[in-house]
């Protein structure tokens, strides 16, 4: 029965995908949405039963590998962590499926789109329900594939096709770490099943790896390798470059994959592996720093973007930074809490943005928007909900989940924690700034688009607005409803054995007793950020341009996303192609072939030419040779007999 949760989307994808154009738009929509709905009902029911009855179990579906000591099965690990994730994934996915019926209406290959969405959901569910690293990797690469297919969905657009490839490749760089992490885990633990790995950690503690003569503690090495995978998927600083480009995909895709679910897979993986990460202080410290750096970096870039979707993309990147940083503080519950609330409010923001873009016939540049407040009032209202939740205003969900992370950073009482605390607070201010900027630029002032677009502006149809309303409910309510369970007093009972925290990692527990100023600082900064945003974009509208001119180098630096993309292109892409050409022409052609087969045949030909000269045809030449030979042989015989 539970296997139906991942399998229903798979069947939907197969039915619709294989019959493709023959099935027709209506039927394709019906099948995928219905299957998703059923899966969601089962997933929610499972979630309640796991939480209430506290049943943890593993369902083995079929063997996958069995080779000596190497045993891996297709299985579902049912515990709070996976049940929560499955519920979130199914819920958001269903809403996006329904929303797509409106958003993608009239698209030439709608069935293909719906099939991809369902396929993605299958892989995501396979990922979160895995009971071993290998199946997780299956889902992991699978969602990467679905993301590649969906980013490049409009494959006639050169930029979309390129963005898809970029997303896949950058993720593969992370997966390079993931795969090696899997190998290292197997080499050390002799198993890839989560529960067995955690049980064997004490045996492995203290053992070391040496790679290229460099010694490193085994657990730390494994954690860092796995984290490299999480960096790719969750777009952390350094491997984040694919996420903004991924906005080339249709907006429902951005909402589902690049905001609510897939990009959080990295965070989920770290939580799932908490039983291992807890034993490596070094890895946790690195994770904290990188998460904090990402949170701030992405926020700074988001402030200067003009493309509506790119602002939200950088915002996602930044919020993922908060989740990762929570993991680094051993505040796994807080990470999952923020993951869940973020899924609601970010999906809401994206879909609201989509409905706006839809209203404007595909325009994404905020400089060409404005004045939409009165034309699409519902979208405007929902956008406000999303913005306030993102900025962290009380009652709305983001407030609860973000604050607990920041408080935990303070109460961890470490240098790293302090560093994260400062960066995260700066991030809060910037988040409020860019959210307000985004809102004001899109909806306020007078319209900046032309008459032709104006005539088409319309409020979203119900099939789009109803999912939005449901998401808005989640964005408002999920914070205070789930707070007690995820991070409050009942959290230990709630998570059960699915999250593991060492006794001396008390940051999250202490967070509730953080000083008053620590608790109120984020809210103060958020309000300040909103005020600053309103000041710049609503009241003194010339201020931003003046600031940009005054801090020109800084502005350029932010606009160019810290030049990371450009640096990578030069460092890796261009040099790889140059090296490849050198190896091909210099290595294969001029060295191996020239000295190998071609050289060999040239030598043979040359020798042949020489020997040909011997056959001159003159009898006395031959006689001379024969006589010389006889003399030499005779001499040899004489010498030997001496």
């Amino acid at each position: 029965m539970l296997a139906a949760i991942p399998l229903l989307p798979l069947f939907a994808a197969l039915i619709v995908g294989l019959s493709s154009r023959r099935i027709g738009d209506a039927l394709a929509l019906f099948v995928t949405c219905l299957f998703m709905l059923v899966a969601t009902v089962i997933a929610l029911q499972l979630c309640f039963s796991v939480v209430v009855q506290d049943t943890e179990k593993t369902i083995v579906l079929a063997p996958w590998f069995s080779l000596g000591s190497f045993e891996v099965a297709w299985a579902m690990r049912i515990d709070t962590l996976s049940a929560v994730m499955m519920a979130v994934v199914c819920l958001v996915s269903t809403l996006v499926h329904i929303y797509s019926a409106g958003y993608m209406r009239g698209d030439a290959s709608l069935p293909r789109f719906m099939a991809y969405l369902s396929l993605f959901t299958f892989f995501m569910l396979a990922l979160v329900s895995a009971d071993n690293l290998l199946q997780m990797f299956f889902g992991w690469e699978g969602v990467g594939l679905a993301s590649y297919l969906l980013i490049g969905y409009w494959h006639h657009k050169e930029s979309a096709a390129r963005a898809g490839v970029k997303a896949f490749l950058v993720n593969r760089i992370g997966d390079f770490g993931f795969v090696l992490g899997i190998c290292a885990t197997y080499a050390m633990f002799d198993t890839l099943v989560f529960s067995e790995i955690f049980a064997r950690v004490p045996e492995v503690l203290g053992r070391e790896f040496s790679v290229f003569g460099w010694k490193i503690e085994a657990v730390t090495a494994i954690c860092l390798l796995l984290f490299a995978g999480a960096m790719g998927k969750s777009a952390q600083l350094g491997l984040h470059i694919w996420l903004p480009d991924a906005m080339e995909g249709p907006t429902p895709v951005s909402a589902l994959i690049h905001a609510a679910t897939m990009v959080t897979a990295g965070v989920f993986m770290l939580c799932r592996m908490s039983g291992l990460f807890e034993y490596s202080e070094d890895a946790l410290a690195i994770i904290t720093c990188l998460g904090a750096a990402t949170a701030l970096f992405a926020a700074t870039v988001a402030v200067v973007q003009n493309d509506l979707k790119r602002v939200i993309a950088y915002s996602t990147c930044s919020q993922l930074g908060y989740m990762i940083l929570a993991v680094g503080l051993s505040a796994y519950g807080a990470a999952m809490f923020h993951l869940t609330t973020h899924a609601f409010f970010k999906a809401l923001l994206f879909l609201a943005a989509g409905s706006l873009i839809h209203a404007l016939s595909g325009e994404q540049d905020m400089r060409k928007m404005g004045g939409l407040r009165a034309m699409v009032p519902l979208t405007y209202l929902l956008f406000w909900v999303g913005v306030l939740a993102l900025a962290g205003i009380p009652i709305l969900s983001g407030f609860y989940s973000k604050d607990i992370i920041i408080e935990a950073a303070w109460t961890s009482h470490t240098i790293v924690g302090l560093f994260a605390f400062v960066l995260a607070n700066l991030g809060v201010f910037l988040t409020a700034c860019y959210s307000t900027r985004m809102l004001v630029m899109s909806f306020h002032h007078s319209p900046r688009f032309d008459e032709k677009v104006m005539t088409h502006v319309h409020e979203a149809p119900p099939v789009m607005s109803i999912p939005l309303l449901l998401l808005a409910c989640g964005a408002i309510g999920s914070g205070f409803l789930l707070k007690e369970m995820f991070v409050g007093n009942g959290s230990e009972a709630f998570w059960g054995g699915s999250l593991f925290v060492e006794d001396y990692h008390t940051a999250l527990l202490d967070a509730h007793h953080a000083p008053r100023w620590v608790k109120s600082l984020p809210l103060f900064l958020a309000v300040l950020g909103i005020a600053f945003g309103l000041l710049c974009y609503q009241i003194f509208t010339t201020l931003p341009a003046r600031l940009a001119r005054f801090f020109r180098p800084l502005y350029r630096f932010l606009c160019e996303q810290w030049y990371i993309d450009a640096l990578y292109r030069l460092l890796f892409v261009k040099s790889a192609f140059a090296l490849a050409r050198l190896l091909w022409q210099g290595g294969d052609m001029k060295t191996i072939d020239a000295f190998g087969p071609d050289g060999f045949s040239a030598v043979v030909r040359w020798l042949g030419g020489r020997f040909r000269l011997l056959q001159s045809g003159y009898v006395y030449h031959y006689v001379f040779a024969v006589v010389t030979g006889v003399v030499l042989l005779g001499a040899f015989a004489v010498i030997r007999n001496l």
């Binding site: 699978g142 594939l145 494959h155 197997y186 190998g596």
Partner: protein, 490 residues
């Protein structure tokens, strides 16, 4: 089990078919059709027989099954010995399966001397089946070398413009390697006093001798596999060979290198194998990175896939010498998978070439629009080639990596780089050929017809099967590999 010599039937049925083909007389057109039909029937029957073999094969029994043995040259003990075990079984099935596909794929693309072409393929099938089934060193050598002739002929007669250069390069490289192997085989026979695989495996050779003999085998198998830096014949041979020739070359002939390592170097010369393992690791690691990079800048689709083969074979050779169960099984699975996937990719290129008469990447654009079904099937093979989980490519790659990591973490790091680079060149290729804006409708591109669809679909199924549920394969493959492990003197 009755006494019917199943293996000999499998080996010689295609040869008999080839003889039959030479008897066909009449108008050119009639001859061509009759030849194609006969060849297809013979190949299908052989394939069915190999399926029977698979069915009757006992996965729990150790040693060679269905063994046949008769003395051939009494004085030297050389015999006609054939047998099948878990290692060779799938190569035999693969060989007969690919031959059927090759004949189908050449149905229309080969226009000249159809009868000879079909006969060459049947002879090729016979000889490769023989090479995989022989359990006698001299017999193996005969089949192994014999394969060269029909292949040389196929490239040289039905190949592209530079076919003569490519055919000779191919011939020279492999022949030179093979001669060194012959010396090693003869030494084994003289010193060990037998030519039977099973008896040789029981014989102990001194480590010093092993090291010399190993090099002889290495010369031949490294060329055949091919390992860096003996790989340069492969891209040329592939580019000039007709589609079906490339399929056999990538799907089968390359596998003979890895198979040879498995049959000779590892079980018979275990100490030398252990001694030379670092060398193989280094060459494999170089091969993966080097070939992947070179594939990145190719302009001919076929050449790109040829280089990707070199990279994939790097995984195989590294896995073979890692001396643990995961890596060895992984290497064998990688060979089987590559046999299917690279064959499929070459067939895909052939389909495109038949329509557009070019393989230049720059000549294509937005192919997905006129050919959506083709694009989708090619996507599956591309994903299998880059080792996406759920495809056969992943099974081989991950098992190999898991095993190699235990033997040599540094090698595993470099091999894993191949994962990134492999995705790089494949997606780069796919994007340029299939995606983009189509200005004008490309002339002469139309989607797959039934025959092509059947060919590619029949390859998709095993690729996914192995990827999702490899147990039936792993079970059979793992058993005969067990005695190879730890065979080296401590």
């Amino acid at each position: 089990m009755n006494d019917w010599p199943l293996l000999s039937t499998i080996i010689f049925l295609p040869l008999l078919g080839a003889l039959l083909l030479t008897l066909i007389r009449g108008q050119d057109k009639d001859v061509a059709l009759a030849a194609k039909a006969t060849a297809l029937w013979v190949a299908m029957s052989t394939f069915l027989l190999t399926l029977v073999l698979w069915y009757a094969f006992d996965p729990r029994q150790e040693g060679f099954q269905f063994a046949e043995s008769s003395v051939w040259i009494a004085e030297s003990g050389i015999g006609y010995r054939v047998g099948v075990d878990g290692i060779s079984l799938f190569f035999v099935v693969l060989a007969s399966f690919l031959t059927v596909l090759c004949i189908l794929a050449s149905w229309r693309s080969v226009a000249k001397r159809v009868r000879d072409f079909m006969a060459a393929f049947l002879v090729l099938e016979s000889l490769s089946l023989g090479a995989f089934l022989a359990t006698d060193t001299v017999l193996f050598y005969l089949f192994f070398e014999g394969v060269l002739l029909p292949m040389f002929y196929i490239i040289g007669v039905w190949g592209g413009e530079r076919r003569i250069y490519a055919a000779f390069k191919f011939f020279l490289y492999t022949l030179l390697g093979s001669l060194l192997m012959l010396l090693s085989i003869l030494s084994l026979t003289w010193i060990g006093g037998t030519t039977s695989f099973s008896e040789l495996m029981q014989t102990e050779f001194s480590p010093a001798l092993q090291k010399i003999l190993w090099l002889g085998f290495f010369a031949s198998f490294a060329v055949k596999t091919p390992m860096w830096p003996f790989h340069t014949w492969l891209p040329d041979a592939h580019v000039e060979a007709p589609t079906a020739g490339s399929v056999m070359l990538a799907g089968l002939l390359l596998k003979m290198g890895g198979y040879g390592f498995l049959r000779f170097c590892l079980p018979i010369l275990p100490d030398a194998s252990q001694f030379y393992a670092p060398l193989v690791f280094v060459l494999s690691a170089i091969a993966v990175v080097y070939a992947s990079l070179v594939a990145l800048v190719q302009t001919d689709i076929k050449k790109l896939i040829a280089y990707s083969s070199v990279a994939h074979m790097g995984f195989v050779t590294a896995g073979l010498f890692a001396d643990n169960a995961q890596a060895l099984s992984g290497a064998v699975m990688q060979m089987i998978s590559h046999g299917l996937v690279s064959a499929a990719l070459f067939l895909c290129v052939g389909i495109l070439y038949e329509r557009a008469k070019t393989r230049d990447i720059g000549a294509f654009r937005a192919v997905v629009q006129p050919m959506p079904v083709y694009a989708r099937l090619t996507m599956v093979f591309m994903l299998a080639s880059i080792g996406l989980p759920g495809t056969s490519g992943f099974v081989g790659e991950i098992l190999t990596l898991l095993g190699v990591f235990r033997a040599s973490p540094a090698t595993a790091w470099v091999l894993a780089l191949g994962m990134i680079l492999g995705a790089g060149y494949m997606l780069h290729l796919y994007r340029r050929v299939f995606f983009g804006a189509s200005e004008a409708k490309p002339a002469a591109l139309y989607d797959l017809h039934l025959r092509e669809n059947v060919i590619l679909t029949s390859l998709v199924l095993p690729v996914l099967w192995i990827g999702l549920y490899p147990m039936p394969f792993l079970r059979i493959v793992a058993l005969p590999l067990a005695p190879i492990l730890g065979a080296a003197a401590p």
